[in-house]
Amino acid sequence: MTKTYEQINEKIRAKKAVVYTAEEVIDLVKKKGAEKAAEEVDVVTTGTFGAMCSSGAFLNLGHASPPIRMTDIRLNDVEAYGGLAAVDTYIGATALTSDPKGGYGGAHVIEDLIAGKKIHLHAWGPGTDCYVRKDIDTYITLDDINDAYLYNPRNAYQNYSIATNTSDRTYYTYMGKLLPRMKNATFSSAGQLSPLINDPHLETIGMGTKIFFGGGEGYVVWPGTQYKTNVEEVNGVPVGGARTLALIGDMKQMDAKYVRGLDITGYGISMAVGVGVPIPILNADIMRRCAISDEEIFAQLQDYSQPVDRPAMARYSYAQLRSGSIEYEGKKIRTSSMSSYYGAKKVAAELKDWIESKEFTLNQPVLEFPKERTLKGLKERK
């Protein structure tokens, strides 16, 4: 049995498409088998809501009168990039205020913009014959500015490691607060709900895939940075960070509930964003892969007190990780997540609702992403 994108979209337009979340579909496939389930189900929705530093927004602020070519730009005192055209800028999630300890950064500016708050714009320029003005000090809102789109060079990591700390002091990392002597361990993938776990070889996800992004409609635009494929697989899914996606979406459609600025103690600013990818059930193989459950997805425990080379210490399933504790060499380590599974479920449910009732149709990718790719380190040269 096979289906086409067009057949599925026709059913979506007729409000007759059968949509399951990646969680709900597990039992269905267990009961009916992948062949039968594939006949019944048209789309499976996925979701994730976790931290990703490689996030940011392109903004066009509009021209003031007299106009200014901004080269030094501050939004709520957070530095935005001044190397584009006169009033274009990119604000990165991890960018900081002039007081780096303020606990506020680019991700918070983005969240505040989406929440409709007033943002303080202070910018300076060289003053030229065509842009005479040298500074501007005003306030903007998302409604005022011409363009505002989130462009995250890397999102939706396909799996990730589990972090612990074997040392005698607390470590503050991007994987959260890690207590001494392996008292806890943190993980970040949404496991059975995670987009790239459900379509592990990107058979249906590529450039042009329409997605749920921060509460609005977005698109997959490119392989994410640090995309790699050479990671060992168990049950068809990599056991560590592998593929990633670059995503784009209009901030004016977004909801601040799904785009959150984070201040990770001892590490810095990051951004959590809700991402949901719909997977068209074109055949029974795709159905089978979407039915993967937390018991079958594995990640590796690593010691984040090691500055370099963190060998895998052990391997655990997401079912074990979600049980609240794991065992390592006879010792119980408490576990919890850095990404919100509660949020991931909401994303998958909301995307399901969009497909069922808002005629959210599926795009066939216009470009497939690399089947094979390895990562390079940074070589230091004289």
Partner: protein, 134 residues
């Protein structure tokens, strides 16, 4: 029953006598959760007390009588529900399992009764949803 109290004192030797009074005079079982004594002899201690309610009431009066400031602790950890996005970063940090995931929705719940006011969770929360009010 078990209740938690914050006891503020002005002389550094009072800490021992508090425990003595609770045990010897009122047959209560105190468990010191946290004690901090400043260089000038002032200090604060958090103590969990087990025993009969009537004895506890009398004990509190007795301690107040010797010049100590005694306040029952409840809801000292507060979570801003609007800010919390139920990530769970706090869940594995808390020594008393005050945070739990809802088994169905995976929302993170807080049981303030279990909290011993250690403060460990506060800086583990990346959206600053947690605050400890002592």
């Amino acid at each position: 029953m078990e209740k938690k109290f914050k006891i503020e004192f002005t002389e550094s030797n009072v800490q021992d006598s508090v425990v003595y009074i609770l045990v010897a005079e009122f047959n209560l079982k105190p468990n010191i959760l946290k004690a901090q004594i400043e260089g000038d002899g002032t200090g604060v201690m958090l103590v969990s007390i087990e025993g009969e309610e009537a004895d506890m009431v009398k004990a509190v009066e007795r301690l107040k009588g010797i010049g100590l400031l005694v306040n029952e602790l409840s809801n000292h950890i507060t979570r801003n529900h609007d800010k919390c996005f139920s990530c769970g970063a706090c869940v594995s940090i808390c020594p008393t399992n005050s945070f739990t995931y809802d088994p169905v929705t995976w929302e993170v719940h807080v049981n303030t009764d279990k909290c011993i006011a250690c403060g460990a969770c506060v800086n583990a929360c990346s959206v600053r949803a947690l605050s400890l009010i002592l």
